[in-house]
Symmetry: C2
Subunit: 471 residues, 2 copies
Amino acid sequence: MEESTRRPTKKKVVAVVGGGLVGALNACFFAKRGFNVEVYEIREDIRQAKVVKGRSINLALSHRGRQALKHVGMEEKIVSQGIPMHARMIHSLKGKQSPIPYGKKDQYILSVDRANLNKELLTAVEAFPNTKLNFDHKLQGWSAETGLMTFVRSDGSKEQINADLIVGCDGAFSALRKQFLRRSRFNYSQTYIPHGYMELTIPPLNGEFAMKPNYLHIWPRNTFMMIALPNMDKTFTCTLFMPFEDFEKITTGDEVITFFQKYFPDAIPLIGADTLKRDYFRLPAQAMVSVKCSSYHIGDKCVLMGDAAHAVVPFYGQGMNAGFEDCIVFDEIMELFNEDFSAVLPEYTRVRVPDDHAIADLAMYNYVEMRAHVNSKWFLFRKHVDNILHFLLPQTIIPLYTMVTFTRTRYHEAVERWHWQNKVINRGLFFCAAGAFFGSSYLLIKNPPDIDKLVVPAEKMWNRLVALRTS
Amino acid sequence: MEESTRRPTKKKVVAVVGGGLVGALNACFFAKRGFNVEVYEIREDIRQAKVVKGRSINLALSHRGRQALKHVGMEEKIVSQGIPMHARMIHSLKGKQSPIPYGKKDQYILSVDRANLNKELLTAVEAFPNTKLNFDHKLQGWSAETGLMTFVRSDGSKEQINADLIVGCDGAFSALRKQFLRRSRFNYSQTYIPHGYMELTIPPLNGEFAMKPNYLHIWPRNTFMMIALPNMDKTFTCTLFMPFEDFEKITTGDEVITFFQKYFPDAIPLIGADTLKRDYFRLPAQAMVSVKCSSYHIGDKCVLMGDAAHAVVPFYGQGMNAGFEDCIVFDEIMELFNEDFSAVLPEYTRVRVPDDHAIADLAMYNYVEMRAHVNSKWFLFRKHVDNILHFLLPQTIIPLYTMVTFTRTRYHEAVERWHWQNKVINRGLFFCAAGAFFGSSYLLIKNPPDIDKLVVPAEKMWNRLVALRTS
């Protein structure tokens, strides 16, 4: 009880479980509203830790995440520590590089360092007078009825605290969520994709970036792919995404090199053959999970946010951004319902579940698109058509990627709009093609050309069409 | 350790967790193979219990379930204790009853009593010399590495046993499955449907069944429905399926009567107005969950079967039948792989997961079909077409319901075949319609009729078509 009664203010106690990205940011949001915020993190303070264990090294920060950071006055600082990426850079098998912009010229996503961002956010939490960070606190049990929580520390000692609101930001494998699973009518799914991921590093070359830095580099190879994001220290972090059984087929350093020579030949000199041989076996490939659930709350006492509510696969670069946007959405609803938890929590579930499910599905969809479709000429053609239409009709046709990445259009509305746009555009293309066919037929009938002169160009055009469909 | 070393035979120890329908039947399968079988059931022996808590009262036994019972010599006995149902009996709003047969004349499903079937199966387990039933044993923990299991009894005492194989048949809320959830790359989903169910009873009328007994009675009302299955004691058990919020709208006895007068008027005298007023509030509506997961096994030590692996919603009448078929499939694989658990378990997962997922999806599909589509004339027309085609081409066109209910066609193959058949039949119907149109047009052109005579019949036909599409 000591914890909850320490500050005899009128404001309620909000316990944030998890001091990762979403937990720390959320603590700032609640602190800004004047709540007494206690953050409970299972690990040690990463600002003091020598080795930071955790997930992937860098992340793509985009509009939704930035808006949330802006709310707590951190946008500028974090943006200054990130590297803008204006386009994907597609690496062909032959090493040819072709950029595909993310949006308009001034639109970009930012490569940011996960550990650094987390440290900055924890420091921001501490800057509030009404917050406390509690590290080395493992959630052992809690009651949805009373809000009483029990934590255990690594020395075995226990601590009990009472919170008015428990906010679960403890990630994809949330300890808090376990209790949700035991309750009736809680829908839940966890889906592991057949791919794993492995991180490799491209060191600087003569003190400079070894590739163009302002791009998200992609080596799409249909059933698998590699990507690389730039870091502030002029390295790139490569992530190889591949089915687990393919990872397991490679068992020696020489097999690694043979594999890279076949599929990523231009990456070998960048990573370094010897480093590659060694680093490939440093850690086993890691699994990726997509988690969906509903509802996000129990009564007026507990709510799940971030990965604890909706872990997504990383292929749309929206995991952190969606989690950060959770904080804004919750805050907006708090404003609307005058901080009455009994009204805010159900409304949050009602509003947010369809959006989170939509981004989870989109990320799964992009899991195929990123490694396979970007290789197709039809995909590139459609990207061009979308961009031209967006330029001509900026309010009517907005590419899906733009809506997701550079606006706060609700995810599920972005998906609905995307389906509608696709229908309209595909129909338009069909009518254009039909018009071209009948128009040229009419001209041909009016001015019949020398048939013999047509055979060669017709054959060429046919071959090109065949190549387009099969590429 | 006492338990596992008690019988110094060479045969391995199989621990079956759960003494419900699938657990008890499975114990017979393993006992028949000569294993030392220990069944652990959390409840008391239901054969001694005064009040049997549990789920729905009666179940529909069909071919797959019967085949499994046959394997352990119990088919005849159980069939003799069930009531054949040859057809659905659709009750219209006006009380009109129309039968829709399940298959051919000699094909039927059986209404069986869950508690009685469970008791018979437990007695069958005990008839083997190499089995032991352990009631009042709650699984507290277990190790997938060593097979060591800890049980706790209601007096607080604990018991540890070592099993060579742990078979989880402990139902939709399986305690054993919890450990699966903690392992990486375990896919899992639990989905509650928005409907709940409530059971009511139609007593005998003058010592006889109050409705025709050899039918599954259905009152389909689009967004909700009621069904009734006959019991050996000449009662019917009615089950009302309805969205929870609709259940909650009815708060007084008079509202129950008003609701039934509007939607199930013919059921009021059968149940009795006073009983209805009382029984509606006896228990709250119960939830229904659909559970899918994979894999079903961990190493060579543990496997999930029955509802623990694949709880389905009850609308295809296949929950128990699928669980019983699990036992046959596992037994067939045991035969194929010479009882080598390290080969049998992965193969069981490989073979059975797609079939269980298919029946889970089908049950969800029928959740709509049973309460809404059976009201549509198009549905009935297609049922007739399917049956006629099945009569003409018995090997080529087999109705889905027949494949699922009266054969052991693998569930996922039944679904694939169904999709193919639908394509073929719908195309056939289209060509028939087109042929009829052009044929009649040709005849009309050759022998132009008096136009005035055509107006009235054309209008009639049009109205009928409109009614068909909107019904």
